[in-house]
Symmetry: C3
Subunit: 102 residues, 3 copies
């Protein structure tokens, strides 16, 4: 199954589905390494959270291709799908899911 998010400031990735601390550490890590107000940003018109959101988006990616078997996603025990919102106020997000194969 292919999942695709139609935006440039929100991502899809996989990661641990058990401890919510992992999701919070994700946010803190990417805020630390892709900072707001980097001196080299020129694209600042849409606010300080916009350019970091674009960068985080491409680092984490906008789609997932996941194996399916017997009608169910074949994920690892600890794998869950993360929809990462990189804007402070992201609004509604649109995804497309496509199933391929027999």
């Amino acid at each position: 199954m292919h999942l695709f998010i139609h935006h440039t400031s929100a991502s899809l990735t996989l990661n641990e589905n058990a401890s919510p601390e992992v999701r919070a550490d994700f946010e803190r890590h990417f805020n630390a390494t892709v900072p707001e107000d980097a001196p080299y940003y020129r694209h600042t018109l849409e606010g300080p959270d916009d350019m970091p959101a674009h960068l985080k988006g491409s680092i984490l990616g906008f789609s997932l291709t996941l194996p399916v078997k017997d009608g169910a996603l074949l994920l690892g025990t600890w794998q869950g799908i993360y929809l990462c919102e990189h804007r402070d106020r992201g609004g509604r997000r649109t995804l497309t899911a496509t199933l391929t194969g027999e």
Copy 2:
């Protein structure tokens, strides 16, 4: 549709197709966070821009899988395809496009 770039120092990603500043900020951000001349690089034979190019390549990725509907790419309004050249002089690049489905 699947797009694949047959190289290890150039990437494919999606991002904003409107402001060219976003593309320039991408280049500045990855140059700042994946520097040339990091003290821990050993693979330096092909020049100071080579190892950073490999790292940027894997961070951004070498392929895109994009949904297609009614014969057209189903991208978000602001999504455009970025071919990211990570070498200073990258030369010619080869891609393969594969269409799957009915």
Copy 3:
């Protein structure tokens, strides 16, 4: 062909298949930029290498979609598949390979 790794602390990516220095530089770069013991980590129960492993996993990604032609992978001359183990002691890893098309 789609390759998928069923874990959240090991990745699949492509990169140079010639010099083993590239693989070693990969490890050094990601150890430097996704450090153990970052002050903002809360998910520390499973050891100092666990949260960095989750982050490296999502930065590099958990799957590859690769073109196939005449029964063979259609990779670039220098492209090889990297299975990146991000834990110090990762144990056994499970992958799923799926072939699509005619």
